[in-house]
Amino acid sequence: MGTIKLPRLLIAALIFYVVVTILSLDQVHILNGYFMVIINRSLIFVILAASLNLINGITGQFSLGHMGFAAVGAYVSGTITTLVLKLPAPQPGFWITGPIFIFMIAIVIGGIAAGLVGFLIGFPSLRLKGDYLAIMTLGFGEIIRTILNNIDYVGGPRGLLGIPKFSTFTTITLFTFLIIVLLRNLVQSSHGRAMLSIRENELASELCGIDTTRYKVMGFVIGAFCAGVAGGLLAHLLQLAHPTQYGFLPSALVLIMVYAGGMGSMTGSIFAAFSLTFLTEGLRVAFDNIPSFRIGTMDVRIGTEWVMVIYAILLILIMLFRTEGIMGMREAKLLIIEEKKKK
């Protein structure tokens, strides 16, 4: 993997500076809430894209239902925190001032639940070679949406409402940072190299003594876990979890982020998650303001649903002109752990 040469410390300092600035501006309410929601959304999508990159880009499998795992995480953690909030407080105001660790635990449990579901989906389909995983995950994404639509306990088609707003810029940044660091450590360990070798050549990998099924499932489950965490964060940010948030189109959006950023490049996934989240919001505003017009006898209105059309075109352009994505397989130096090169 090639590197992009920028002083490591400078970049780290710059990111830290931006984070602290946003944090302090948010504290004194200078930034408006809308902007903060988009920033937080971007960070959540960074988790989603980076974890899908682990499955599709690093291990070389093809998952199409990443948002399904986010749904599991969102509903499980959302249910836990709403239930806990209903409990009688040990002292007045205890749940409101909120021990943040209950939220943290709920998020992690949501992630574990998503990981378990990931195992149930992944184990049977990853034992086989070929496109079984794509078919299974595509189906799973739709099944989970339908199930959630029909469980009254979690609100059915109304969605799960009244989730406490525990996700703040601080907690989301913390989770995103942790997951990126852990994913980076994973990819640059012996286990990560085993996963990469499966992408490169599954047969050769097997004949290097690697239990390919085990590593495909491992990558998939870790990816599902991270998606579950992201889903939990999203639910606690928007204070609701709704089945339509986790359908095929959002899954496709995450997929586009991974491909646009560059398959196998975590830097690319992070970059694409930020830019595409902001682009989505920009396009949404822009399309909402286009007045309807007439073509012949037909009324044409360009609505927000046209955003996906733009993305489809974007994806085709990427495939035509930059197949390897923005970053290719390269990583920013910040995300590469240096090895002592002894001769």
Binding site: H191, A194, C208
Partner: protein, 258 residues
């Protein structure tokens, strides 16, 4: 000499086509064993059967006295049989050293959590693996390219890398599938030396498939000649090389001159 690999009555069919027919042979420990035969005679199929990519229709395979028939390929590798491929299967986007380190992975003890948290024991083991890998890389004269992407290496270097990668799995038996394919005479000469060195320095048994008669006759200590899945001759290469049946069926008249 005891038999390291023992194949008993092994046959394999692709539908109605008999690719390998009732093979019974032993590969003794410590030799360089050659399997030769014309195209489509079942050589690569034999390798695929031994390395577990196919399960034989009938017959059994024993390695070090234990039956390995039908085991999954990675288990067979972990048990001590490594192989290379006729058409190279290198991890092109990984660096040369990473190619080697992948093959060392199954011996790594650090668990997932130790690795994720980069605990001292993990760092120590990584350093050991790296040192091991560099040693192999130096032996195969790849040290200048150790951190380059493998796909950028010249063909001869890739062949060496594949043998090095197979040896990184710490095998007792190495299967080389046409190691001289696509090599010029100079490279082939180097390869012959390399194969002998591999056997001596790594204390492994070498089992190779080859078209290149000169290489087989020079390097191998025992050969088996097959055609259309049937064994024609077996034994010392000098004797087999003069066997009229072999000359007629496989080498032809010009083959004897090589």
């Amino acid at each position: 000499m005891s038999a390291l690999l023992s194949i008993q009555g092994m046959s394999h069919y692709f539908g109605g086509l008999k690719a390998v027919s009732d093979f019974t042979f032993d590969v003794p420990e410590g030799v360089i064993y050659g399997l030769i035969g014309p195209n489509g005679s079942g050589k690569t199929t034999t390798f695929n059967l031994i390395s577990g990519l196919y399960t034989p229709t009938t017959g059994k395979i024993f390695f070090q006295g234990k039956e390995i028939t039908g085991h999954r390929p990675f288990r067979i590798v972990q048990g001590g049989i490594a192989r290379t491929f006729q058409n190279l299967r290198i991890f092109g986007n990984l660096s040369v050293i990473d190619n080697i380190r992948v093959a060392r992975h199954y011996t790594v003890k650090s668990g997932l959590f130790t690795s994720l948290l980069r605990l001292p024991s993990f760092l120590q083991e990584e350093a050991d693996v790296r040192e091991d890998a560099m040693q192999l890389i130096r032996m195969f004269h790849l040290e200048d390219r150790a951190h380059d992407q493998a796909k950028n290496l010249p063909y001869g270097a890739l062949r060496r890398l594949e043998i090095a990668r197979a040896l990184a799995t710490k095998p007792k038996l190495v299967l080389l599938d046409e190691p001289a394919a696509g090599m010029n005479p100079k490279e082939t000469d180097d390869l012959m030396g390399l194969i002998r060195r591999v056997r001596d320095e790594f204390k492994v048994t070498v089992f190779l498939i080859e078209h290149h008669m000169k290489l087989v006759m020079n390097v191998c200590e025992r050969v088996k000649v097959i055609d259309f899945g049937e064994t024609i001759a077996e034994g010392d290469p000098k004797v087999v090389g003069k066997d009229p049946k072999v000359l007629e069926a496989y080498l032809g008249k010009r083959g004897a001159e090589c």
